[in-house]
């Protein structure tokens, strides 16, 4: 496939494609006045670029490659707007930049200037990407729920084990003592004691049980929230800072 494609490339008349816009922070800043694209929009752009490449593979039309290149430029700008210029984001864009360079080589154009990493003193610190900040917030919330659930469950269990159950034992002891009394006054004294301990047992079992159930619920909810956020972070690599385009390789 590669040899065929290369020979096809040689036979095609090369037109000068517009110079790829280097996605520097300055350029991105200029276009940042528009709202950054959504993750889904970036996905669509990349998919469209792949479609153009596939059409080129089918009919050899260089214009398809140029269209793909423009879309990839657009993707690179959008990705920089959305994810910034951190190390991970730059690494994520690198494969797509390589694809752009491969297209340039095939259409005989000068290789695009790679996306510049801003000098530490030149550019202001990039703002945290909106997608990652939201996911991080959900992860924190999940952590808080998980920890809170553990604490609540532990308090509930401790209440049941160290207050409720002993109260039950003491109630039974008072009842046993009441049974063996001969005089009503003595019996009633032990019965009053048993009734107090019975009430304590009921109240602490109820509170402890509720806390334990609440703790289990919070732990489950927190774990689910965290897992969902982790999964989303793993899925966003389609256009995320760590695996840009990892699942949509351009084949030439």
């Amino acid at each position: 496939m590669k040899q065929t494609t290369t020979s096809m490339m040689l036979a095609v008349a090369m037109a000068v494609a517009p110079v790829a816009t280097a996605v520097t922070p300055a350029v991105a800043a200029a276009s940042e006045q528009a709202a950054p694209p959504s993750k889904e929009a970036l996905d669509q752009i990349y998919t469209d670029a792949q479609l153009h490449v596939e059409r080129y593979n089918g009919n050899g039309d260089v214009e398809q490659l140029r269209a793909a290149r423009q879309l990839l430029d657009q993707w690179l700008r959008g990705h920089a707007q959305l994810y910034g210029y951190g190390e991970q984001a730059v690494q994520a864009r690198a494969p797509v930049q390589q694809q752009v360079a491969a297209i340039d080589e095939k259409v005989g154009e000068p290789a695009a200037t790679p996306v510049a990493t801003p000098a530490p003193t030149a550019a202001p610190a990039p703002a945290p990407s909106p997608v990652n900040a939201e996911i991080a917030a959900r992860q924190r919330r999940g952590d808080q729920m998980f920890t809170g659930g553990l604490v609540l469950g532990a308090v509930g269990l401790a209440t049941v084990l160290f207050v409720g159950l002993p109260a039950l034992g003491l109630r039974n002891t008072a009842l046993d003592n009441a049974q063996v009394q001969e005089f009503r006054a003595d019996e009633e004294r032990y019965l009053r004691r048993a009734r107090r301990r019975h009430t304590t047992m009921i109240v602490t079992m109820a509170i402890g049980g509720a806390f334990t159930l609440g703790g289990i619920t919070l732990v489950s909810a927190g774990a689910a929230t965290k897992n969902a956020a982790d999964r989303e972070l793993a899925l966003s690599p389609a256009v995320g800072p760590t695996f840009a385009g990892g699942s949509l390789r351009l084949r030439f």
Partner: protein, 125 residues
């Protein structure tokens, strides 16, 4: 704090409702006048007479046993005819015939009326 009190009241009610259901009263005469008739069907006592009984509430085994915390109370509807008081000994009650007439003795467990027993105080010759 009021929330905590409500919680405690609810818990007490829940505790009370966890007990057994009333089935009958076990009655034993342990002292007093011989010319008396005491049972859960009726009580017959002479004017000025006294009888000491031992009374225990028994639960219905099909609906759960009493846990020992239940409170048995015997009350006469008309204390001018007859009176009933707690005795000195455990589970004991003292019934007095005050003046000739009819009344009923209420049997209450944990404040709930479970049974009534007709009481007749007869004039002594």
């Amino acid at each position: 704090m009021s929330t905590l009190r409500k919680l405690i009241v609810l818990a007490s009610l829940a505790a009370a409702s966890c007990g057994g259901a009333y089935d009958r009263l076990e009655l034993f005469v342990i002292g007093g006048d011989r010319r008396t008739e005491v049972s859960t069907e009726r009580i017959r006592i002479g004017e000025g007479g006294v009888v000491v009984i031992e009374a225990r509430a028994e639960s219905d085994a099909d609906h759960g046993e009493y846990n020992g915390l239940e409170e048995l109370e015997l009350r006469m509807s008309d204390s001018r005819v007859a009176r009933v008081r707690k005795g000195v000994l455990k589970d004991s009650w003292v019934i007095n015939g005050a003046e000739p007439g009819d009344t009923v003795m209420q049997i209450r467990v944990d404040g709930q009326l479970e049974q009534v027993v007709p009481v007749r105080v007869e004039r002594q010759p």
